[in-house]
């Protein structure tokens, strides 16, 4: 429920925006999900990716594996909320709604070789890159053996040298130039690695994104800038974040392509990121991919989203839940039937249960270690 304000409505937010109803004074609006993808009414320099069709050339095993990651991320996320509400997890940041885009992107990359520089919503991405449910629960409960940070970081700040997931901080978008750097090293060292870095449409407003894209464009680096545009930065709606409709329309300013894709269409994202990774590996440089999607939950467990968005809007987007859409697609192409789908759900649930049990039983860090690893050991 956007708050009514007495201030003069800013005309800037009143521009035509397909699929958005604008109230009389322009300050209250509802962002509706769209069939395919909403690119607004403005000038468009980015490409709009087509919806995916069928199995996108992937075999059924792979499709099922992808689905399992989407489902696992969702189930872990839901469990973390439960643990939070039960007072067992101090803080939760939720990726619900983003999982499809993340898994689609992850499967387009060479996991084990390529680099992921995630942001806090990239639970599904991190799982697809190698973290296990148990790893994630250990992090959520800040256990000593949490392999992502030893309980040092807030939940959602995943990292793993083993899986090439670069540990990120909380200040948004600081990871974006890091990806330019890992890509530069990959290029001059000839490793063939692609780097992908994720950020929100809010994070896209930071100067670091500009500086990183510019540098990467000049050197045609093998990097993919992956914007998960969920239309809000905490409470700030996209109309207050930028005067344009599509973050991807900025790519032209750095000399590389921007692509807009429906972020609730797993296989469409897969295809777009696959193309971008191929381009990168061919030495043709970066791509800015913008996945349009929605966050189903409040920003974090500390947030109350009713202050800034209409529950009707959330409801409308839930009808485009990537988890449900992807399940339907798998049924459509015959990769699963209702039984095997139920089987996957059971497996996921038991994975989450097991992970929760292990993490709950695991010890907290030893307080004496709090000052370890500030500098390299001598």
């Amino acid at each position: 429920m956007a708050t009514e304000t007495t201030g003069a409505a800013d005309k800037a937010v009143q521009r035509a925006f397909a699929g958005k109803t604008t109230t009389e004074n322009g300050s209250s609006s509802i962002h509706l999900p769209l069939e395919h993808v909403d690119v607004g009414g403005g000038a468009l320099s980015a490409t709009v990716a087509p919806p995916s069709e069928g199995d996108a050339g992937l075999d059924h095993d792979t499709l099922r594996e992808m689905y399992e990651y989407v489902a696992l991320a969702r189930a872990l996320d839901e469990r973390m909320w439960q643990l939070n509400r039960a007072g067992k997890a101090a803080f939760i940041v939720s990726g619900q709604g983003h999982e499809g885009a993340q898994v689609g992107a992850a499967f387009a990359l060479e996991r084990g070789k390529d680099f992921l520089l995630p942001y806090y919503r990239d639970l599904a991405f991190s799982l697809a890159f190698g973290l296990t449910a148990e790893n994630v629960m250990m992090a959520a409960l800040a256990r000593a053996d949490d392999p992502t940070s030893g309980g040092r970081q807030m939940p959602g700040h995943y990292g793993s040298r083993k899986f090439n997931i670069i540990s990120g901080s909380s200040p948004v978008s600081t990871q974006v130039p890091h990806a330019t750097g890992t890509a530069y090293a990959a290029k001059v060292r000839g490793t063939g690695q692609v780097s992908i870095t994720c950020f929100g449409e809010g994070g896209a407003s930071k100067g670091d994104v500009h500086e990183a894209c510019n540098f990467a464009g000049i050197h045609k680096l093998p990097v993919i800038f992956f914007c998960e545009n969920n239309r809000y930065a905490i409470s700030v709606p996209i109309e207050r974040q930028m005067a344009i409709d599509n973050v991807a329309d900025r790519a032209v300013g750095y000399g590389f392509p921007g692509v807009i894709v429906d972020g609730t269409d797993v296989l469409a994202v897969y295809q777009v990121v696959k193309d971008a990774a191929d381009r990168a590996r061919r030495g043709e440089g970066p791509t800015l991919v913008e996945a349009k999607l929605y966050r189903f939950q409040p920003h974090t467990s500390d947030d109350d989203d009713r202050a800034y968005r209409d529950p009707e809007e959330v409801k409308a987007w839930r009808d485009h839940d990537p988890l449900l859409r992807f399940a339907q697609r798998l049924l459509d192409v015959g990769a699963v039937d209702e039984d095997s789908l139920a089987g996957i759900k059971d497996k996921v649930r038991s994975d989450v249960d097991a992970a929760t049990d292990v993490a709950e039983a695991a010890p907290l860090p030893d307080s004496a270690t709090f000052d370890h690893h500030v500098y390299a050991a001598q």
């Binding site: 009514e4 040092r152 909380s170 809010g202 905490i234 500030v374």
Partner: protein, 350 residues
Amino acid sequence: MVETLERTTDAKPMNGVADGGDSTNMTFIEAINTTLRDEMRADERVVILGEDVGPRGGVFRVTAGLIEEFGEDRVIDTPLAESGIIGTAIGMAINGLRPIAEIQFMDFIHSALDQILNEAARLRYRSNNDFSCPMVIRVPFGGGVHGALYHSQSIEAMFVHTPGIKVVAPATPADARGLLHSAIHDGDPVLFLEHKKMYRSIKGEVPAGDYEAPLGKARIVQEGADVTVVTYGMMVHESQRAIGEVAKETGASIELIDLRSLKPLDTETILNSVKKTGKAVVVTEANGLCSVASEVAATIGEQAFAWLDGPVTRVAAPDVPAMPFSPPLEHAFMIDAEKIGVALRKLLDF
């Protein structure tokens, strides 16, 4: 050789002046919220800008209700861009507004340091007084709330180090109101630090009406004869707890100074106290190296040497990148009454 900055001190009576007699008991956050509202009512040049300050009322809800009363032109939900927020606020100040910028957490202020330290703080000097930059930067800071490395930082020393900006850190709701009032009415940029753990945990009487606490004046929380504790922010409350215990245990008479203003620093009040007690413990929850505690300790050592009966002792966070998330690690890092008590006992025994 180190300037004491006394010349920037307002000549107002020491613990704040209220005009109008009433007072209300309220939380720290209520004191800030109502003061913002009162100042915006009183002066239409005052505008607020920052992330989520609008309909959300701020992530801590410090600005709750303001956009409803003052509208979108005066309560501005900005894009996620801290350097842009401060840079824009500077331009606003130059062109006649009185911006109050909110940086959501002090941990996110780094990308705005160029605009704060090189621009806002240096505009008056570089223009030989032709331009100035009256603005307030409100920043939640401090630890102990499971904020981990990036929602717990206290980096006020960087601002104190830099000429041209003032820094305040109230420890009570009354001082929050008084110092915020003074900051908004000051001619220079003022960094206004709000300890996030105090927002709802600290309550107190707040005078109504135009209430000022002058920038640059410390507050003597309690008088004592044997040792002086100098601190600010949340550590005022932790020190009070420590003092209570140590006094009960040892019978020592302990003076407590709440700096309130980190810059200008009230050297006079500090030195007068230490010249009386002969001993000082300086407490900060920030990393210790080159900290406000270092500055206060060095100043005492330099200017009250002959009066000292023991080493000026610092209690500060170690050289570790802010507290980790996990409670045992956070506890090990965080300065609290217990750690302050240890230092106090040791110094009393010297």
